[in-house]
């Protein structure tokens, strides 16, 4: 055993920017994987000393406990406004927000849309699990029709609750956004693809190209009252038809794919 433990055989290591704090996330939750990807991308780009993260209110409020970078914890929904100032006052820094669906698409809709419409050179990482996890599983703006939550116990009903909000589609309409992509982290290929998009988004922000949003269609096994495995299956069967994966907008794709690299 001892002779195989050597550097050339190493296939995986914990991202250097992730610390050893035990995570508070529930088993099966997507946050942990997304955190890891963010840590890897920042480290691989050599931006660890230049990055300022803006944490939301919601399950990811404690994101600042897990990544070894500077963090500002914003009021509920205000992360894009906070990030706007951090980036404008420090244009050489890498600034990103990390927000859930309630934070980004309900209470912070105005801040999200206007930061993106101004084309702030930031990355918005958007976790869409169709539920308010932290407060105990209430209805989110992205909750699916007929989906049961603590505040729509008989299922989301259009006459009472309106429709699931596809906010990334909406953001893609804004001139200020450069890249909008919807990803998941439920399989190895999906994780690989998501990381690539995340890296692109971070590169865009550093290059001053405008706002990039990476949405992660995510699981909330606890809020959905499922096992982690059931949650992954349920997400694929129910969430993805409503929130299809892929690039919603990439301003670089027409002109730069062939020339840039």
């Amino acid at each position: 055993m001892k002779d195989i433990i050597n550097p050339e055989n190493k296939v995986y290591e914990k991202p250097r920017l992730m610390n050893d704090s035990p995570m508070h996330y529930c088993p099966g939750c997507s946050h942990g994987v997304v955190h890891k990807l963010v840590a890897e991308v920042i480290d691989e780009m050599g931006l660890g000393e230049k990055t300022i993260g803006v944490a939301p209110v919601g399950c990811a409020v404690f994101a600042y406990n897990y990544l070894d970078i500077d963090w500002v914890e914003a009021a509920h929904g205000r992360a894009p406004a906070v990030a706007t100032a951090v980036k404008r006052l420090n244009p050489d820094k890498m600034v990103f927000t990390y927000q859930g669906d309630g934070d980004l698409a309900a209470i912070g809709t105005a801040e999200t849309i206007h930061a993106c419409n101004r084309g702030e050179n930031i990355v918005i990482i958007f976790i869409n699990n169709a539920i308010y996890g932290m407060t105990g599983g209430q209805m989110a703006p992205t909750t699916l029709l007929d989906m049961k939550t603590a505040t729509c116990p008989y299922g989301r009903n259009t006459s009472l609750n309106g429709y699931p909000l596809k906010i990334s589609d909406l953001l893609a309409q804004l001139e200020g956004t450069y890249l909008i992509s919807r990803e998941t982290v439920h399989t190895a290929p999906a994780i690989k693809r998501a990381k690539k998009m995340l890296r692109k988004a971070f590169e865009n922000a550093m290059a001053g190209k405008g706002s990039s949003v990476v949405e992660f269609v995510s699981t909330c096994a606890s809020g959905w009252k499922m096992t982690p495995d059931q949650a992954n299956k349920w997400m694929v069967e129910n969430m993805l038809p409503m929130y299809p994966l892929g690039v919603l907008k990439d301003k670089s794709s027409d002109s730069q794919h062939t020339t840039a690299k």
């Binding site: 100032a85 951090v86 006052l89």
Partner: protein
């Protein structure tokens, strides 16, 4: 250059003073009667000279959260608004107090409640000095009474705010914001460099070098035993501010039989009333708190043995009077005169009230 006397509005003085102080960022949203602040800044284009950022936000809520973000980076950042907009900023002010962030907020007050009126008022006294947002916190509050003080309080507000890592407010009103007076602007100071901020505000989130732990700006603490300690620390800080930072001005108080206590525009009006009273042989003095929090409790308390009565003049229904009564422990008569809803009293009205009070004592 620095001694050049200019004529301008109070709101314009705030904008010029902000540029000259070396402010890093202003984030605002238009509202009457303070829109000249952002208009002046945009016209001056300080991003081309000092490198100051000026941004029109999508709302007062966004603007104060931009201030929160800028302050988290140790930058000198500010916002301004008027009463209805200041109500919207209370969330951010509470978060700044909770995260112990410095920053300057200007309130050029107008009459309320609700959308109210665009005319001057001082009805946000309670909101400003008693809380405003949620939680046990205090807001350093400066009350300018002239265009010169509008300019001077920008520097004073930032200095106090950074000395104590606590938000500060310039509590002005439509009279002081809109009136034109002579003003001597301060000399241009350079903005702080990142290296200076890293050394003076070691808590600032400017990117983590390998040599230190991450800086985290937050007001959250779920462990109540730690959160209680945080609150105890805040309260100790507030006590230090109360003991060291009280500012006030006394006018003809030494031989006064009666005292007017007033701040801001009400003090300017009362100053004239004092002159008129003196001409009639009534010995009236004016006590003007410059810091509304910390409130000059000891100084007003000392008056209770010297004067027969106090008239508190405010552009509201009686707010600061409560602090005056507490200061003198109700041991002498304390009357109130105020006009409401944007009406500004005349010196004659104030004199008449003073005479009424004199007759009843």
């Amino acid at each position: 250059m620095a001694e050049e006397i200019k004529l301008m509005k109070g709101n314009e003085a705030i904008a010029h003073a902000a540029i000259r102080y070396g402010v890093d960022g202003y984030f605002g949203y238009p509202i009457t009667p303070q829109s000249e602040i952002m208009e002046t800044l945009m016209e001056e284009k300080p991003w081309e000279t000092t490198g100051m950022t000026v941004l029109q936000a999508e709302s007062e809520v966004a603007a104060i959260n931009m201030v929160y973000g800028g302050a988290a980076c140790g930058k000198r950042v500010m916002t301004s608004s008027s009463s209805p907009g200041i109500s919207l900023k209370q969330e951010g002010i509470s978060y700044m107090a909770g995260a112990e962030l410095p920053g300057l907020i200007v309130n050029v007050m107008r009459g309320g409640p609700g959308l109210g009126t665009i005319q001057p008022s001082q009805a946000d006294y309670f909101q400003t000095v008693k809380g405003g947002g949620h939680g046990d916190y205090r807001l350093i509050t400066l009350a300018p009474a002239s265009v010169q003080e509008m300019a001077d309080h920008v520097a004073l507000g930032f200095e106090l705010s950074f000395k104590y890592n606590n938000p500060a407010m310039i509590l002005s009103d439509g009279v002081i914001g809109q009136m034109m007076e002579k003003v001597i602007l301060p000399e241009q100071r350079p903005r702080k460099t990142e290296a200076e901020i890293r050394s003076e505000q070691p808590w600032a989130t400017l990117g983590k070098p390998a040599s230190r732990k991450p800086n985290i700006i937050t007001s959250l603490e779920l462990d109540s035993s730690i959160m209680e300690q945080n609150n105890i620390r805040f309260q100790a800080k507030y006590k230090t501010i109360e003991e060291n930072e009280v500012l006030y001005e006394e006018l003809l108080c030494d031989d006064a039989d009666y005292l007017i206590v007033a701040f801001g525009s009400a003090a300017r009006i009362s100053q004239k009333a004092v002159d008129m009273a003196r001409k009639e042989g009534i010995k009236v003095g004016l006590f003007r708190p410059i810091t509304l929090w910390p409130f000059p409790v000891k100084e007003i308390s000392a008056c209770k043995n010297k004067v027969k009565g106090i008239l508190v003049v405010e552009l509201n229904a009686g707010q600061m009077i409560e602090d005056v009564k507490l200061a003198v422990e109700c041991k002498i008569p304390v009357n109130h005169y105020g006009r409401l809803g944007g009406i500004v009293p005349t010196p004659q009205e104030v004199l008449r009230e003073m005479k009424k009070m004199k007759e009843t004592i």
